[in-house]
Subunit: 343 residues, 2 copies
């Protein structure tokens, strides 16, 4: 049962009005505002039909109509035209990501900030666990009597480091050799796969080296341990405080709590995710506490693994703007990442 052109127009008008005002829109007000050439009564009839089909709903008998989640879904699937950020905005992002930024942390911070600022919703970026990255290089560098730094470089150029203690007798040269042992054994493997058993052969070394090897293994272990699974960065959480749907403190708290425990958000974003923009509206989300919100997200490739990013806001969301922004940003990150990195 598809919609007539006029019904689609009315649906769109209602969505636009409702998204910007957060008030139910009535037939009379709508005709007046949009200067339609049909009468309020006609609109009323169409509205009644749209409601019966499930695209609209009425908060109370005597209120106007608001789009149902199904209505938003229809709009998003069949009618929406994404609005990509203006050139000025894109420039802003390019500028924020200037070439001197090497720290992955900084990049994530800035992208998140951009997303939330442009869309006015909260943004999230999920960074795949470092464990999935590939091992590129390991070095052990003495820094002073009895201390050295284990330096691990991954395929996409992320650098991990950790101090270890070493026998005072070890020379820099020997440390270098130990490092090379690791390199030969591990290069190209995923960090995740670094298991002690794989390195048993390294045990057959002379004793002083064995100590270093042991310490280095420990260091790698803790480095991996402490890089929790996927890292979630949320920016602009406060944006949702503006939305009238969260004037209720309890709802607000629930949402902000989800944001604060970043673990939760990780589970909310669907796992299979392409670089296409995906949208989850209200109850389409799995987690109960978030059924009142919508997600607009996309994936980005980082060294073979998929990261996720997007924005989260009320169901009454400017999907067109959010989708356009997320899409643009995801593309820009992909470009950036393929330009950088070590390979």
């Amino acid at each position: 049962m598809s919609l007539t052109e006029r019904q689609r127009q009315i649906l769109e008008s209602i969505i636009k009005d409702y998204v910007s005002t957060a008030e139910p829109v009535g037939s009379r007000a709508m005709v007046r505002k949009h200067g339609l050439s049909i009468s309020a009564a006609t609109v009323r009839n169409e509205m009644a039909d749209l409601e019966e089909m499930g695209y609209l709903e009425q908060p109370h008998t005597s209120a106007g109509r608001i789009p149902s989640e199904q209505g938003f879904r229809y709009y998003v699937d069949y009618m929406m035209e994404s609005v990509i950020p203006s050139d000025a905005e894109i420039d802003l992002l390019h500028q924020a990501l200037d070439d001197r930024i090497q720290e992955w942390n900084d990049v994530v911070q800035r992208v998140g900030h951009f997303l939330s600022q442009v869309t006015n919703y909260a943004s999230f970026i999920i960074v795949p666990s470092i464990k999935l990255s590939q091992f590129h290089d390991l070095q052990i560098i003495p820094i002073q009597e009895g201390q050295a730094i284990v330096l691990v470089v991954t395929d996409i150029g992320i650098i991990l480091h950790r101090r270890i203690t070493i026998p005072t007798s070890m020379t820099a040269d020997e440390l270098k050799k130990v490092g090379n042992l690791f390199n030969r054994a591990l290069r190209g493997k995923r960090l995740l796969e670094v298991k002690r058993s794989d390195l048993m052969m390294l045990r057959d070394e002379i004793k002083s080296r064995r100590q270093v090897i042991e310490k280095t293994l420990e260091a790698i272990d803790t480095l991996l341990d402490h890089s929790q699974d996927d890292r979630v960065v949320i920016t602009g959480a406060l944006n949702i405080i503006k939305e009238p749907e969260f004037k209720d403190l309890d709802k607000l708290r629930k949402v902000l709590t989800i944001f604060e425990e970043d673990g939760q958000l990780k589970d909310i974003v669907p796992d299979q995710i392409g670089e296409q923009v995906g949208i989850r509206i209200g109850k389409e989300n799995k987690l109960d506490d978030i059924k009142g919100m919508s997600l607009v997200f996309a994936g980005y490739k980082t060294g073979g693994e998929m990261g996720k990013m997007g924005v989260i806001g009320p169901v009454r969301m400017e999907y067109w703007k959010a989708a356009g922004t997320v899409e643009s940003v995801s593309r820009i990150i992909d470009e950036l990442l393929s330009k950088r990195g070590l390979k």
Copy 2:
């Protein structure tokens, strides 16, 4: 004009009641609750006196009394007994700071989390700029054809790194020598003081080295640039959402906004600060937006510089618990930092 013992008791009772209920406390209710051996009428008389002296105030004529900020101040100065965290709680902190944690970031995160969890207020930790740390060691480590990592170690063992490009002809040995040049020139200086002019002499090197020197200087510059002045970490911001004084969305937004732009909090905490616990109540704070809140803070030493940490909550705060916790944590951090580090 000092208070009689009975007045002090009444003041304390009012403070305790008001802090836990957020309601004005009336004479009758107070006598009943605390099982006082004096009558409500007597309490009323004393209350009237306390109000005249400025230690109490009345929201409306027919409401009970609440402590004024001056009342809290009096309590904090002359009557308060700090409640230090229980052994179990302290253990929790020690556990969270287990020796395997080397990352300064992790330490800060965990301490913040502890503070906010134990006190139920928002916690902040201000980490002095890395620029004030002293230069301990610099090394340039080749990682692949044409690329190397500049590694800077500070006096307290913080490790900074940044990738640079190098002429493909450079050998590891030569890089090491360049590194040594830097070490001779810089060891013991503050990072802040690394000025190009100081390093002019390094310019007289052969050309290929000059390039590396130049790149390394750039790397140091950006490392310093990107480590913004003082870093502020706020944890448990959501705790304040529970406080009834922030049921007003506007107030809530203001406070959360201050939290989100960490720059602001830096200016709020007094500059001269010992390791003693300091308390700022309500209007004693300089910044307007924060005159409705209280701060409990202390300093901690990190490699010669002073960091700051504390909690921030409503004026109606459990100062006793907050002060005890902040004091304990500050001492524990000091111990931790003096045990660690490179010197």
